[in-house]
Subunit: 262 residues, 2 copies
């Protein structure tokens, strides 16, 4: 039998105390110094133990006040919403906010011409060197970023159209694509789970221990040609990802994933 490391015991004890309600969400944990005395160890060891809980996303340090138990409030993230007829097709984000009361949604939009990443190139079936139009949106609630959405379309398809307007397009960008003869009728969604890069963590104001989902939504037109790839970064602590399925669906080849993963 090997004894449990001290820092693990500290983490386990506190995790248990959080779980059983001794420290409810939002409450304050004992300070590092108090724990150092309680466990008769050094502060470095206590910090190692608290670090475990921070990396689990269970508590957060608020300097110089102490460690606090995190409270989660999640929005519904429902990519399918864009493809429903009744109620009328609404933007994903509008739909999200509907489930959240009284908070002001906004978004920053930026349009540019870029070389696509390999992931986007694979999904749009592009030749090396071909350029895409990128429509980057930062979705915000009460001013703080909630998720990032970057849509990509072949440049030759949308150059000079409203798709590239760096502002809200009233009728929706999907309507613009439909006018161009490429209505999106089918979408394939992929979610890759990982920890954020430091840049992502900063942009989205993520605490330690908050995973993200990298969401690739590939939209196809009636000819089964891939038209648009939207890459979203979805912070795990602020969303629940939702979709539904019916057993009685006809028309179903298995969607194939002929592309590489990151």
């Amino acid at each position: 039998m090997k004894p449990t490391p001290v820092y693990q015991r500290i983490a386990d004890d506190l995790r248990q105390a959080v779980a059983d309600g001794t420290y409810p969400p939002g409450s304050k944990l004992p300070t590092e110094n108090v724990l150092t005395e309680r466990y008769e160890t050094s502060r470095a060891t206590v910090r190692q133990g608290l670090g475990v809980l921070v990396n689990e996303g269970l508590v957060e340090p608020r300097r110089p006040q102490g460690y606090f138990v995190i409270e989660h409030k999640r929005l519904v993230y429902r990519p399918q919403a864009e493809f429903r007829r009744r109620p009328p097709a609404v933007d994903i984000f509008t739909n999200l906010v509907a489930e959240y009361d009284g908070r002001a949604p906004s978004q920053d939009i930026e349009v540019s011409i870029v070389e696509p990443t390999q992931m986007v190139r694979d999904r749009l079936g592009l030749e090396a060197g071909e350029l895409v139009a990128a429509r980057r949106r930062v979705r915000k609630l009460d001013g703080t970023a909630y998720n990032l959405n970057d849509s990509h379309v072949r440049l030759s398809l949308v150059q000079g159209t409203d798709w590239m307007t760096p502002a809200d397009v009233a009728r929706g960008t999907n309507a613009v694509l439909a006018e161009l003869g490429h209505e999106i009728v089918y979408a394939l969604h992929e979610f890759y789970l990982r920890m954020p890069s430091p840049q992502e963590a900063q942009r989205l104001n993520l605490g330690a221990g908050v995973p993200i989902a990298e969401h690739y939504a590939t939209g196809f037109d009636a000819d089964e040609t891939p038209i648009q790839v939207t890459v979203s970064i979805v912070p795990g602590d602020r969303h629940v990802i939702v979709f539904d399925s019916y057993r009685d669906r006809e028309n179903s080849d298995q969607p194939r994933i002929p592309w590489g993963a990151p």
Copy 2:
């Protein structure tokens, strides 16, 4: 201007070196002692820097050989597969393995009678105190666990039926439910992203910095009564979550989420 902490610089430098291919997946990083000399600091600081990368899931320590860059191999996790007609409805897991070559799938099944968690109780609409049958499966590939699936049904519904057989049911457990007059025709899927608990990390052999998705699949019969709730723990580094959607779907009230989140 505040200078970047030394441990951050170490983490940033190594992350960059991994990104640009200096250390490709599977390769070995410099040892702690080498880095201690290179950065003219203490080993504790170097360890703090490496800890950042470990928590990002980018590298893993292999004692006593050093730190190595992680390589990912992902399976397709596609909850919708269970609800398709053509090709014939297949078990999720069988479908997954189809995309993975030459590895031997297996599963451990365990059936018990339990008090449901609040999440399950909410989704099945149970009274306090009502019991459920739980069918717990550990899905394995070449002997190592890949994901956990716990299905829950009202005990009164399946007691004494094949649903509770702690082994593979050839015709499938959904067929058993159909025979009982509760064919599942609609399912609502929710994904909650978080870091694993230590128990989950151990059961699934997760490295540090590997997030998981907690997947709730609630199955409804033709009367729109919730019949079955399956809770899956999906390790983020071994899966890509996939589903699709069609624009021409009729029949669509927005799915409501009237229940609490964890």
